[in-house]
Amino acid sequence: MQRRDFLTLAGATLAAGFSSKASAQAQGWPERTVKVILPYAPGGAADRVGRPWADKLSQAFGQQFVIENRGGASGMIGVEAASKSAPDGYTLLLTPNAPLAVLPSLRKTPYDPIKSFDPVGRVGDVINGFVIHPSVGVKTFQEMVEYAKKNPGKLTFGSSGNGTSTHLRLEMLKYKTGIDILHIPYRGGADTLNDVLPGTVHMMNEPVSLPHAKAGKLILLNVNSQVRHPDFPDIPTLTELGITGADVPIWFSIFAPAGTPKDIIAKLNAKMQEIARTDDMKAKLIAVNAVAPLQSPENMAKHLLEDIKANAELINAANIKIE
């Protein structure tokens, strides 16, 4: 396997230099290794959702789909690299929505979320919800809201950073319910969990907290998604709680550099939907708290636009700024 990989890699690199025969290749695509850029450091949430997919796609197409981690700047560096890659179907981007749907509203990005990419398919929506430390004494979402209304500014919430999706979820919660919770930024979910477990900080909203909710160390209050989490059948979704349009989803998907031939995109999307339907993939995804919706590239483009708009409004309303 080693030598074939080496030769494939060498060949791929050589061929990358002159990849102009893009459109004619759709029939035979993929004929060599496909590079999938993950704009985050290895070992994180993106890896956990992305690697099973890369594996399945490699099996399905008989060619290696290789993940390349290019972390940095909240995903900007990897996304920028992908936007500048050749649109021949041999470089793809697997990313959560944040760098495309949130970041451009907060700062100037070296890419345009709509114009630089063509959507391909959905990979997984992450389900999680607000968890709270038991020391606060509340057990349900409504109790938490009441507590917060009676004690404004007393509850604390740890996010993965200023302007990240988890921060936006807090802002959305505050916006829709009118409660006041103190926001404490951290550097990612694990960092937050460190202070939430002993109760130094009360709440968070990250997948890393779910195993602890299962073990009873933390209390899960709600689920941020359209469906309930199979491991927590009693916990309601925000919509069920009467708070509509408050989702702030975190969804992973694959994009291709703008200009990638339409038939390659269609082929990949069809295969992705096929994979998403298998029980094996569903099980693998649920293990990392994700569900993969089935969506065509066109609808995905619409979904992205809506997401960008919703996030921009929220950022405006909550006055989140980055200089």
């Binding site: 990989d5 030769l7 060498a10 050589l14 061929a15 230099g17």
Partner: protein, 156 residues
């Protein structure tokens, strides 16, 4: 008053320069409030500290004997720097082999002690070792050859 320590005054001036630069660049970072210290708080504090340290050193240079400055060895400094920059600029475009050759040779040029025949053999060994270890062994996605070689070299 004479300078009694070239080293102290040089270091002192260096610290002052860095401190000043830090202060100036960070001058309009938001300072925030006591509850939420802002982005600019620590940079400003550090800039002051660094400038203070620099000032003390400059004062010491006049008041106490210390070491004098020594000469710089320009050749190795320049060649090593060039070697590193050469690697950085060529590894993506011209591949590992070429960039290795380029940077190692520039480095070797940095010392008069290099014996060229010996170097040539060593060079070949290093390139083989490098490619073997990093491409084969660790499977790093680094281009080995220049990207623009004709398709005749494509194995697939």
């Amino acid at each position: 008053m004479r300078i009694r320590s070239g080293q102290d005054i040089a270091t002192g001036l260096l610290f002052l320069a860095f401190g000043l630069a830090a202060y100036w660049i960070g001058a309009d970072y938001p300072m925030g409030s006591p509850q939420r210290p802002g982005t600019g708080v620590l940079p400003r504090i550090l800039a002051w500290c660094l400038m203070g340290t620099g000032a003390i050193l400059c004062a010491k240079a006049f008041l106490a004997d210390g070491t004098a400055l020594t000469r710089w060895a320009w050749r190795p400094v320049i060649m090593t720097t060039l070697a590193t920059i050469a690697f950085a600029l060529t590894v993506d475009n011209l591949g590992l082999v070429v960039s290795m050759l380029l940077s190692m040779t520039l480095c070797a040029l940095g010392t008069p002690e290099t014996r060229w025949r010996e170097y040539a053999i060593f060079c070949v060994l290093m390139v083989a070792l490098g490619v073997g270890m990093f491409i084969w062994g660790l499977r790093m996605p680094i281009p080995v050859w220049p990207v623009s070689l004709p398709g005749a070299l494509s194995w697939n």
